[in-house]
Symmetry: C2
Subunit: 312 residues, 2 copies
């Protein structure tokens, strides 16, 4: 088990005590602290790891009345029962940084839900890497070139297939879908990978994929980009969360929509509701990076302080 950061925050409005746990014995320590301090003092367990292994300790912490702040998507994207348990005291958990880093996506959707305005659809470009790739393709470049450039610029994971598979986008989409009340899991999401299984990591190395595999995608993608352009559209890699379920993959969007105008690596989310019906509420900005993710986590922690205000 590897925990990048497990950060506990005790007190109301003051950083009383801070400790980084990165060893397995951390679990025992966290539960000890939660048992003693969870319900009364405002203990916040912050999970900035990228593992499923923290689910157990997080559920225990919630049971003890602790608050939880997550940048880690995985505890919210495993079994639906775990999501339900973690969010059973909804005001005690915050997870802004799981979708679009510090962008106020979760906070905004939560506000819309709280106001009783029914959300009908969320459409988002939630991968900076794929956002960059798609806007470069629009300029007539080949996907093999664009992915290699993106890798050289440090925009991709070490194996770019981790981005191209769409799985990270699917996790974010699942969190948004569950936030809207959909009782679904990863297997209910239709995820379109940008590479076929015969170019997958089980079949060839990252080097082989980059040197020979990737070029095999050029023709098909180029055709789709051109076909979209003929219809006045552009191709984007998006998640669509609607009343009929959740899809992740390539989609044609109007050139003059917020998604269609997107350039570079910014994330963009369009939220449609009764109040934002014809023209969506749009949130756009950098959706990745250490700074913005940390800012989102910190804002979440601060936001929890209301639960532990002293009433004068």
């Amino acid at each position: 088990m590897q925990w990048n950061l497990m950060y506990d925050w005790i007190g109301c409005g003051n950083l009383g005590h801070c400790q980084v746990f990165n060893k397995p014995e951390a679990m025992g320590k966290v539960i000890d602290a939660a048992t003693m301090l969870g319900r009364t003092t405002g203990l916040v367990i912050v999970d900035c790891s990228a593992t499923y292994d923290t689910v157990g300790v997080l559920k225990d912490a919630v049971n003890h009345g602790c608050c939880v702040v997550l940048a880690n998507k995985k505890p919210l994207t495993c079994a639906y029962e775990d999501f339900k348990k973690l969010t059973s005291h909804f005001r005690q958990i915050r997870f802004e940084s799981t979708v679009g880093a510090g962008l106020p996506v979760i906070a905004s959707v939560t506000r819309i839900i709280a106001s009783g305005d029914p959300v009908s659809r969320i459409v988002g470009s939630l991968s900076g890497t794929l956002g960059y790739v798609m806007s470069e393709l629009e300029d007539g470049k080949k996907i093999s070139e664009v992915v290699k450039t993106a890798k050289a610029l440090g925009y991709t994971e070490p194996d770019p297939r981790d981005d191209l598979s769409g799985m990270d986008v699917a996790r974010k989409a699942l969190i948004l879908a569950r936030l809207l009340g959909q009782q679904i899991s990863m297997e209910n999401i239709n995820v379109e990978s940008l590479y076929p299984s015969e170019l997958g990591p089980e079949v060839m190395s990252t080097t082989d994929f980059l040197e020979s595999g990737l070029a095999k995608l050029d023709e098909t993608i180029e055709e789709r980009v051109k076909a979209a352009s003929l219809r006045g559209n552009v191709l984007r890699y998006v998640c669509v969360i609607g009343s009929t379920g959740c899809q992740v993959g390539l989609q044609e969007v109007p050139k003059d929509s917020a998604l269609g105008r997107l350039r570079g690596s910014d994330n963009v989310v369009e939220i449609y509701s009764r109040c934002y019906e014809s023209s969506p509420l749009v949130i756009q900005g950098a959706g990745a990076g250490n700074d913005t993710t940390a800012a989102g986590v910190l804002a979440d922690i601060i936001d929890l302080q209301d639960l532990f205000q002293t009433r004068a």
Copy 2:
């Protein structure tokens, strides 16, 4: 004194009691309720009026430990001391609907501030009417035609000069500037009116303004639109809140920025900070209307519930 709505909400998570006050004796009743219930029960005073007259009762209510939710901009835009007093217990006041109606502008700026990310600049198109006017001008139409069409569509105030003066935008800008910590007042904001004083309401009636006055603006505005276009820019009526102060008026913005791409009556706000330095955090959507304003007020009320959660 006219109070459109003064709404009190007692209890935690339930709408326990609701009353609409619209007579002067309301002030006494509100203070009576605040004295008895303010500090302990989560009494929320909601001001959806459009008057300065509520400032006194709101300050008294805050003194008694009540929460306050505002859609009314005026209590936050009068004397700086009043703003300071009203926001002295910052977690007990919410005013999302004062800027961009239900759009999560205040919530997002507050989150960024809470995370310690210094906001360097906010640029916004915060008038749906002026947003519509400016995007129509871009298509080569005359301002006299566009304003008349906007009035016919119900987009403007009964006297369109109330929109064209920029004062409503200035109030929103002042709220954002004060939120960023600037100790300024309306008189410190440089507001550019779209009509000169010789076409003002003291000089001519609304009918005269529409029938003869307005056309006098056509030539100057047309020249500015063309000059901007020659530089690859478009003209927008914006507020700019920076470290050097606060301006409201016409400004050239790049055609391919969020502000430059704006069409129709949507509001758009660009927030620049250390995390969102080269590419801003952008929030866009309908920024006016009964539904969205009410949704913003309701979300604010619900958001206050954390202050009165029962700790199990």
